[in-house]
C-alpha cells in the first residue's frame, strides 16, 4: 500500500535503546512505535526490533468507487497554518496532504515524504521527498515545496500560526522566523532540517492537522480560493455550517490510491441528539465522534462501533488573569474539592480513566507516577475561607454539547458539595467559541498528542497562543525546554515528574479524566476507525466490496 513507508533505516541507535526499554517493560508497545518511527524507522522495521509482526498491514482494501457522507462540523476555511480544529484538517485532507501520517497504532508513515532519518541525537533530520508526486495544477512536487512550507510554519508574525510552536528550535527567537541554515534543500528530493537542540517532536508536528502542505507559491492562502493540492479530490461545493462535498479530481493523476468517488461532510450542529435523529433518517454514514450516552444508542440501532484510548481530555480551567483565580489558594481549594472519579462517572459515563490534574497521560512515554491527589471537601472550604474568598461566586461557563457540559455540571456539583457557591452558564457553540479563551472559569476539550511534552509546549508554556489558563511559571518553562531535548524516556521522566508536580502545586487546571474516543459507522464502511487525533483520512475510506 502506498501509505506505508518502505524501510529506509533498518535500525537506529536510539531505536535500539527504545527496544531494550520495551523489552525491559519500561516502554509500552505503542510508545516504542511512536518514538522509533519518529526517528525514521519504518513501522515494519520498528516492529522487527522488538520481534513482532507489524499490525498496520491490517487495513482492509475497500472496493473502488462509491459515495460516503460524514457527519462533521463544516467550518470556514483559512490558511492551513492557522487551522485550529481537527475538522479543518479532515475536510481538506483529500485536497492538501501531509508529509507524514500518524496511524491509529501510534506509528508514523510517510505520505508526501517517502521516508526520513534522524541523526543520533535528533538534531538533524533528513527528509526524503516522495518522487512522482504532482500538484493538480501540473507542477511537480519537489523539495522546494517542502522547504517553503517549513519556512512558512516558522513565521511567528502570522496571527494564529500554531505551527510555529510545533517547530520549536527551528524558529529563531529574535527574528521570529526560521533559523538561518535550519532548512536546507539538498537536492530536488531531499530536505535537511538542522535544529540547535535535540527535538523529538518534529515528526509528530509534521503529522498534525495544521501541517497541510501547500504549493510553494500559494502559502498563506485559503486552499478553497484556488483548489491547488496534491490530493486525489477536489472541492465541488463548500457551504460553511451546512456541508462540504468533494469528488475525485478527473484532471489529476494521484500518486497514491483513493477509493471513494465522492465524499460529503454534513454539518448538523453541536447537538448529538440532532446527529442521532439524522442517523436514524439515514442522512449520513459515519460520525466524526460519538459521545456520552449516544455511544450506546448508535450501537443499539446497528451501527458499528470503533474506539481508541487516548490522551484526550476536557480541562476545566480557571484563567489566572482573572480574580479570584489569580490566587493560587483559591485554585487549590477548587481542585481539592473535586473528586475526579465522580467527574469521570458523571461527565463521561465512565468511558475513560481517572486523571490527576496535570496534563500528562499514563500512555505518554514520559509519564511519571505521582502520589494520588487528596480530595478533602472540608479542607477545601477552609482553604478558600483562609484565602478570603469564602463567599466568592464561581461562574463556570461551558459549551452546550454534552461532554463538556456534563463534565462541568459534575465539577460544579462537587464544588457545591464542599460549600462553595457556583453558577453554571451553558452557552451554544456560536456564542461560546467567540470568547472561549477569555472566560474566567471554563472548560475546553483537548485532543490527544503523541508525546507528553507536546501538549505542555502548546498549552502551558508562558504566553503561547493556546495558553488559556494564563499559566506563567519560569521554572516550568525552563524545565520544559530541558525535557524537550531529552531523548531517553527514563531521563525525561525525571524532569517530567517535576513538571507534573508544578502543575498540581500551582493548581493550573482540573484534568478530570483521559477519554476513550468513539466513532460509529454504518455496516459496510471500511477503514473508518476512530483515530486518536480525530483524523479522517479520506484516502483510506471506502465501502466494502
Amino acid at each position: 500500500m502506498p501509505s506505508t513507508t518502505t524501510p529506509h533505516l533498518a535500525t537506529h541507535p536510539a531505536a535500539e535503546m527504545y527496544a531494550r526499554e520495551y523489552k525491559a517493560g519500561q516502554l509500552s508497545r505503542r510508545e516504542f512505535l511512536v518514538r522509533s518511527t519518529a526517528l525514521g524507522l519504518s513501522a515494519a522495521a520498528a516492529y522487527s526490533l522488538i520481534g513482532l509482526k507489524p499490525a498496520i498491514a491490517q487495513r482492509a482494501t475497500p472496493a473502488m468507487g462509491g459515495r460516503l457522507r460524514i457527519q462533521q462540523g463544516v467550518l470556514a476555511l483559512k490558511d492551513p497554518r492557522t487551522y485550529d480544529w481537527s475538522e479543518h484538517g479532515n475536510v481538506t485532507r483529500g485536497l492538501i496532504e501531509y508529509l507524514v501520517e500518524y496511524n491509529r497504532d501510534g506509528s508514523f508513515s510517510g505520505m508526501l515524504l517517502e521516508g526520513w532519518e534522524a541523526n543520533e541525537d535528533a538534531t538533524q533530520y533528513t527528509l526524503r521527498v516522495r518522487p512522482g508526486v504532482t500538484w493538480n495544477n501540473g507542477d511537480a512536487f519537489t523539495a522546494e515545496d517542502v522547504a517553503a512550507n517549513f519556512t512558512a510554519w516558522c513565521d511567528t508574525t502570522v496571527e494564529g500560526n500554531s505551527m510555529a510552536a510545533r517547530m520549536g528550535g527551528l524558529v529563531d527567537a529574535d527574528s521570529g522566523q526560521a533559523r538561518d541554515g535550519g532548512i536546507v534543500v539538498v537536492d530536488d528530493l531531499t530536505v535537511q532540517i538542522n535544529l540547535p537542540t535535540p527535538d523529538i517532536t518534529l515528526v509528530p508536528g509534521m503529522a498534525d492537522y495544521p501541517a497541510a502542505i501547500m504549493h510553494r507559491d500559494l502559502i498563506g492562502t485559503n486552499p478553497l480560493d484556488h483548489g491547488v493540492g496534491t490530493g486525489a479530490y477536489r472541492m465541488v461545493d463548500y457551504q460553511v455550517g451546512i456541508s462540504a462535498r468533494m469528488e475525485r479530481n478527473p484532471d489529476h493523476t494521484y500518486w497514491g490510491e483513493a477509493y471513494l468517488d465522492e465524499i460529503t461532510f454534513i454539518d448538523l450542529g453541536t447537538d448529538p441528539a440532532a446527529w442521532f435523529a439524522a442517523a436514524e433518517a439515514g442522512e449520513f454514514d459515519m460520525t466524526y465522534q460519538t459521545v456520552g450516552e449516544f455511544v450506546d444508542l448508535f450501537s443499539a440501532v446497528g451501527w458499528e462501533r470503533s474506539d481508541v484510548t487516548t490522551g484526550a481530555t476536557v480541562c476545566v480551567r480557571p484563567n489566572q488573569l482573572n480574580a479570584p483565580y489569580d490566587n493560587v489558594e483559591v485554585r487549590r481549594a477548587i481542585l481539592e474539592a473535586v473528586d475526579l472519579s465522580v467527574v469521570l462517572e458523571l461527565g463521561m459515563n465512565g468511558q475513560g480513566t481517572v486523571g490527576e490534574n496535570h496534563h500528562v497521560c499514563p500512555i505518554h512515554p514520559e509519564y511519571a507516577e505521582l502520589p494520588a491527589q487528596v480530595v478533602d471537601k472540608a479542607a477545601a472550604l477552609a482553604r478558600l475561607q483562609a484565602a478570603g474568598h469564602g463567599d466568592a461566586n464561581f461562574t463556570l461557563v461551558s459549551l452546550d454539547d454534552g461532554l463538556t457540559r456534563f463534565t462541568c455540571d459534575a465539577v460544579a456539583a462537587q464544588m457545591r458539595d464542599a460549600g462553595m457557591t457556583v453558577t453554571r452558564e451553558v452557552l451554544p457553540g456560536s456564542t461560546f467559541w467567540n470568547d472561549w479563551l477569555n472566560f474566567p472559569f471554563s472548560a475546553t476539550e483537548w485532543n490527544h498528542r503523541e508525546l507528553g511534552v507536546q501538549i505542555l509546549n502548546l498549552a502551558y508554556r508562558s504566553g503561547v497562543a493556546w495558553n488559556e489558563t494564563a499559566f506563567s511559571n519560569a521554572e516550568f518553562d525552563q524545565l520544559l525546554d530541558e525535557a524537550n531535548g531529552i531523548q531517553d524516556a527514563d531521563a525525561r521522566r525525571e524532569v517530567m515528574a517535576r513538571l507534573q508536580q508544578i502543575m498540581q502545586e500551582d493548581a493550573v487546571t482540573i484534568v478530570p479524566y483521559w477519554r476513550s474516543l468513539f466513532r460509529h459507522y454504518r455496516p459496510g464502511v471500511v477503514n473508518a476507525d476512530m483515530h486518536p487525533k480525530f483524523e479522517i483520512n479520506v484516502h483510506h475510506l471506502g465501502l466494502s466490496a
Binding site: 457551504q239 433518517a281 442522512e283 440501532v301
Partner: protein, 362 residues
C-alpha cells in the same frame, strides 16, 4: 388603486429603513463588534488589537456613515495598509487596485454585502436559503389552508353541534401547542426507532427496521419525500391550522344566522346547497385576511422548525446570523422579513376589495 399601491410601497421602504437601522445599531454595539473581531480575527486579541482590527476592516467610522455605506449613499471605505501598501476596501477584493472599482456599493447598488459567518457574499447565500424555506412554506400552506377551511366550515355550519364541539376542541389544542413542543412530540412518537410508534410497527412486521418518519429534514434539502418532510410540514401547519379553523368557524357561524340563509331554507333549498352555494363565499372573506396574516407568523415558525429539523433555510440562517453577529446577513434577513410582511398585507388588502364589494380603497 395605483396611488394606494404606491403609498404602500413607500410605507414599506420606510419600515425597511427603520428596521435595518435598528438592526444595524444593535449589531454595531461595542461588545457585538468585539465579538465579531474575535471570531473573525483571533480569539486572544487584546483590546488594542480589537480596535485596530475593527479599524482595518471598516468597522471604525461613525455608525451613521457606515450605515450610509451599507445603504450605498456614502462611498465605501478604502484603506491602504501602511506595512505592505495593499489596498483594502468595502468595494474591492483584497489586494485589488482601487482604481476602476465602484465607489459606492450598498443596498441601492444591489450589493447586500459579505456574510462573515458563511464566508461568502450575502446575495449568494440568501437566495438559496429562501428557496428552501419557500418549499417548506408551500407545503405547509398546502396542508394547512384546505384542512383548516374544511374543519372551520364543518364546525361552523351547525353551531353547537357535536361535530362543532369536537373540531373546535381539536383546533384550540393544536393552536395552543407551540412548534417547539409539537415538533419534539412528533419526533418522539413517529421518528425514533427506540420509542413511540416505529418499534411497534417493526414488531408487527409493517415496517422493515428504521423509523416511520424522519426526525431530520436535512435530506429534504436535496430531495423532498413524504417521509422526510411530513414532520416539519405538520409541525408548522398544525399550529396555524387551529387558528384559521377557529376564524373560519366564527365567520361561518355568523353567516349561517344571516337573513338570506333563512330565506333560502324557507324556500326549500337543500342544506348542502345552502352551505356550498350561499354561505361559503361570504364566510371565506374573514379567513382570507387571517390566512395572509399567517405568512409573517410562519416566518417565526420556520425559525424554530428549521433549527429543530436541521433544515438549512431562511429561519436557520437567521438564527446562525444572529448568534454569530453576522451584521450584513442579519440586515438582509430583516429586509426579506419586511418584504414578506408588507407584500402579503398588500395582497390581503387588495384581495379583500375583490372579495367584498362593500370595501373601497382610497
Amino acid at each position: 388603486m395605483a396611488l394606494f399601491i404606491l403609498r404602500r410601497v413607500g410605507v414599506m421602504a420606510l419600515t425597511a429603513l427603520c428596521l435595518t437601522f435598528v438592526v444595524f445599531f444593535l449589531t454595531n454595539l461595542a461588545p457585538n463588534l468585539e465579538k465579531l473581531a474575535k471570531t473573525q480575527g483571533n480569539a486572544r486579541m487584546s483590546d488594542a488589537e480589537v480596535i485596530s482590527w475593527l479599524d482595518r476592516n471598516g468597522y471604525g467610522g461613525p455608525l451613521v456613515v457606515r450605515y450610509g455605506e451599507w445603504l450605498g449613499v456614502v462611498p465605501g471605505w478604502l484603506r491602504e495598509d501602511p506595512i505592505n501598501g495593499e489596498w483594502r476596501g468595502r468595494c474591492i477584493t483584497r489586494g485589488q487596485n482601487p482604481e476602476g472599482a465602484p465607489r459606492y456599493c450598498g443596498l441601492l447598488q444591489g450589493d447586500l454585502g459579505y456574510s462573515t459567518v458563511s464566508a461568502a457574499e450575502v446575495s449568494s447565500i440568501i437566495g438559496g436559503r429562501l428557496q428552501l424555506t419557500g418549499i417548506l412554506m408551500f407545503w405547509a400552506f398546502a396542508v394547512m389552508v384546505p384542512s383548516a377551511l374544511l374543519v372551520g366550515v364543518l364546525a361552523g355550519m351547525r353551531e353547537g353541534s357535536r361535530t362543532d364541539r369536537t373540531l373546535s376542541t381539536l383546533s384550540i389544542a393544536t393552536t395552543a401547542t407551540p412548534e417547539y413542543v409539537s415538533g419534539v412530540i412528533f419526533i418522539v412518537l413517529l421518528a425514533s426507532s427506540q420509542v413511540g410508534l416505529s418499534p411497534l410497527l417493526v414488531e408487527w412486521g409493517w415496517l422493515e427496521g428504521g423509523t416511520l418518519f424522519f426526525g431530520s429534514a436535512r435530506s429534504a434539502m436535496d430531495n423532498v419525500t413524504f417521509w422526510n418532510f411530513t414532520l416539519p410540514v405538520m409541525t408548522i401547519a398544525l399550529y396555524g391550522m387551529g387558528y384559521i379553523a377557529r376564524m373560519t368557524r366564527a365567520s361561518m357561524a355568523e353567516v349561517m344566522t344571516a337573513q338570506y340563509i333563512r330565506t333560502a331554507r324557507l324556500k326549500g333549498v337543500s342544506f348542502r346547497n345552502i352551505v356550498l352555494k350561499h354561505a361559503l363565499r361570504n364566510a371565506l372573506i374573514a379567513p382570507f385576511t387571517v390566512i395572509m396574516l399567517q405568512f409573517p407568523w410562519l416566518l417565526t415558525g420556520v425559525v424554530i422548525v428549521e433549527t429543530l429539523f436541521n433544515y438549512n433555510g431562511f429561519g436557520w440562517t437567521l438564527v446562525q446570523a444572529a448568534s454569530n453577529n453576522d451584521i450584513e446577513l442579519l440586515l438582509a434577513c430583516s429586509i426579506v422579513a419586511v418584504l414578506v410582511v408588507l407584500v402579503t398585507q398588500l395582497i390581503s388588502d387588495i384581495g379583500y376589495v375583490f372579495l367584498n364589494p362593500r370595501i373601497r380603497i382610497s
